[in-house]
């Protein structure tokens, strides 16, 4: 079955718009870049086969939810908390500050799974707490409060890392 051209363009648009955030979300779940990439591709191809967005109220939230399900299924038999690969960056850091990028990655890795997922979805996915509630199947307020906890913890971890690096330099 050949995908409809309009549907295909729509998927490509969503992919170019949300692809980086989807990949980051899959990375945050699987911890492995190639697996995360495969998951995102699988989801988009399945959507292409579906040939329509009919019955999907929020395509963006649906995409993130699909990536989450696929990533969890694919990494079910694997260790969720694998050591971070120092070669595998998650972000393009501002002003080529690769140390900051590594620190952020490490800080994200210290968060509990549900807090990390919410942080990625809200900060880089641009999802509202309502959409996050749909994706993760939790109430809106739970998503919001978990996000606040995550943000506080992340900030503390990053500050501690920054202080350590500053003191080690001096």
């Amino acid at each position: 079955l050949q995908p409809d051209r309009t549907h295909r363009t729509e998927i490509e648009g969503l992919y170019s718009q949300h692809g980086p955030a989807l990949l980051l979300f899959a990375l945050a779940i699987t911890g492995e870049r190639s697996l995360a990439q495969d998951v995102v591709h699988q989801v988009c191809l399945r959507l292409l086969e579906r040939n329509t967005f009919q019955g999907i109220a929020d395509p963006k939230a649906y995409l993130f939810a699909s990536v989450r399900n696929a990533a969890i299924n694919d990494s079910r038999d694997r260790l969720r908390h694998r050591p971070l690969d120092p070669e595998s960056a998650w972000f393009v850091p501002p002003e080529q500050d690769y140390v900051a990028e590594l620190n952020l990655r490490h800080a994200l890795a210290t968060l509990p799974d549900e807090q990390r997922d919410i942080t990625v979805l809200h900060v880089w996915g641009g999802l509202t707490f309502s959409q996050i509630g749909v994706v993760l199947g939790i109430p809106l307020h739970t998503a919001a409060s978990r996000y606040r906890y995550a943000l506080t913890k992340l900030r503390r971890t990053l500050c501690a890392k920054e202080n350590t690096s500053v003191s080690s330099k001096s």
Binding site: Y15, P20, Q37, L45, A89, W90, P94, V123, W124
Partner: protein, 135 residues
């Protein structure tokens, strides 16, 4: 001017990190059969080329063995190389046994190059070429 709280400032800081872009979307399910078809076509072409080559070789062999020259070639190929030089005796024996003079001459002409004659002996061909037989 609105004053940002620490969380908002931190969110802005985080947002400066841009997630890496994924690889371009590949339509594997569409491209795979195309690739499969190409491979199949390549195999078919290769198989056809082999079949044509085998048939051509077989045809050439049949054609050569079917023609008078071909027969002679095959006869020559199958005949053991005689180390003996041509002598008058051998030539006479051949002429006696041959169906016709032409066949005998053909046979002589297709005989593998003989070894060098020992001293004092003459080639039957050179003798016959000088003689004028009354046929």
């Amino acid at each position: 001017v609105s004053v940002l709280n620490p969380d908002e400032r931190f969110e802005i800081y985080l947002a400066r990190f841009h997630p890496l872009a994924p690889e371009p979307l590949r339509y594997q399910k569409e491209k795979a059969p195309m690739g499969g078809r190409l491979v199949l076509a390549a195999w078919c072409v290769a198989f056809a080329a082999i079949v044509v080559a085998v048939l051509a070789i077989a045809w050439l062999r049949v054609d050569r063995s079917g023609s008078p020259g071909g027969t002679a070639l095959l006869v020559r190929a199958n005949r053991p190389v005689s180390p003996q030089p041509w002598t008058i005796g051998r030539a006479n024996a051949m002429l006696a046994g041959a169906a016709s003079i032409a066949a005998a001459i053909d046979q002589i002409g297709l005989e593998p190059r003989a070894a060098a004659l020992p001293k004092g002996k003459r080639s039957a061909l050179s003798v016959l070429s000088k003689e004028e037989p009354n046929l």
